[in-house]
Subunit: 206 residues, 2 copies
């Protein structure tokens, strides 16, 4: 009887409370996780639900050369929430940061819009810039996706994007200079690169 009493009134409720507590923590952690998942051959699974991640900014027709493009194109950049929260504290990116660049066509006339551009429903391009310190020489890698549902391929280290990001990215090979809510944090935390600081004054004047 004593054993039954203990089980019914102490062990069982305590175990259930602890289990409930752990399960809930588990849910919270799972809900927040958004780290990279690779296939056996080294491709990267498309990041699920990146549209629910933290939005960094959107640009339109941005280019490092003056060639004109045929289409108006938006680029939206998202980052996983864990990396964003870490950036707010440190001014730089932690391991397992995943930045997603999504391109959408800029539509002009539609509904009541008579001028300017809004974003179309089709994703026209998807790229991931990922920090995985143990996996990639240089810590970061780019992956290109041909669809939102199929694994993306590693972009070779010789591609221009690596050199350009390393030379011109304001923080840790990333273009924080174009993310309006992050650049003031990087400035305060003094994580801007020396290269960027040289041109910083000219950007601040504009």
């Amino acid at each position: 009887m004593r054993g039954n009493f203990l089980f019914a009134w102490i062990v069982l409720p305590t175990a259930l409370a602890v289990l409930g507590f752990v399960a809930q923590r588990g849910d919270t952690v799972r809900g927040a996780m958004s780290g990279p998942i690779y296939t056996r051959n080294g491709d990267l699974l498309p990041p699920a639900s990146y549209r629910e991640w933290i939005f960094l900014s959107s640009g339109v027709d941005m280019s490092y050369n003056k060639k004109s493009a045929k289409l108006t194109m938006f680029d939206n950049v998202f980052v996983n929430a864990e990396a964003y929260r870490s950036f707010l504290v440190t001014g730089t990116w932690p391991d397992k940061t995943v930045l997603v660049l999504e391109n959408r066509e800029g539509k002009d006339k539609g509904s009541i819009n008579e001028k300017g551009h809004y974003q179309g429903t089709d994703v026209m391009g998807l790229e991931v810039h990922i920090k995985d310190e143990m996996r990639f020489p240089g810590k970061w890698a780019f992956f290109g996706f041909e669809s939102e549902t199929r694994p993306g391929k590693l972009i070779p280290k010789a591609a221009d994007c690596y050199g350009c990001h390393e030379a011109h990215g304001a923080v840790d090979t990333t273009f924080v200079q174009f993310y309006p809510t992050l650049i003031p944090i990087a400035r305060a935390k003094q994580t801007l690169t020396a290269e960027f600081l040289k041109i910083d004054a000219s950007m601040r004047e504009k």
Copy 2:
């Protein structure tokens, strides 16, 4: 003694477990809550951390007339996560939906950018469209903010924005036609207005 035993081994641990559980749920709920907070005189507190809410889309220089503007301006739209998740299921907005429209100037040359526009660090405009069924006739109201930190003022019902949203918003007085990830959901859930369905075909062709 019996009373002490009960208190020390049953009542206290159970109470602590329940309190812990509730406190954690409370944290979760508080963390996720992003409903409206009004001042005594009916102003609306600026929504905290809306940049961490769900991004719906960004447009550039959108206008319902053809007048040209002096500045290139981006408009970013965010919605509270609870309302977004409800929309994914129902195709329309629940009570206490908060949509935030943020304007930022489109900058042109800066860093390596030679063409197109990226978003500047200053918020040039901030408006909230809020659904609070018990509070507002017509269920929805607009609030305009002069700063990101001071309460915003209710925009009077006679203002153009109300009539335009009611006449042309694709779902429940909101411009879901410009939110590329939501319009397919509204289409699937058949929550598009009759007025929008008339012009829908023309938008889909573009």
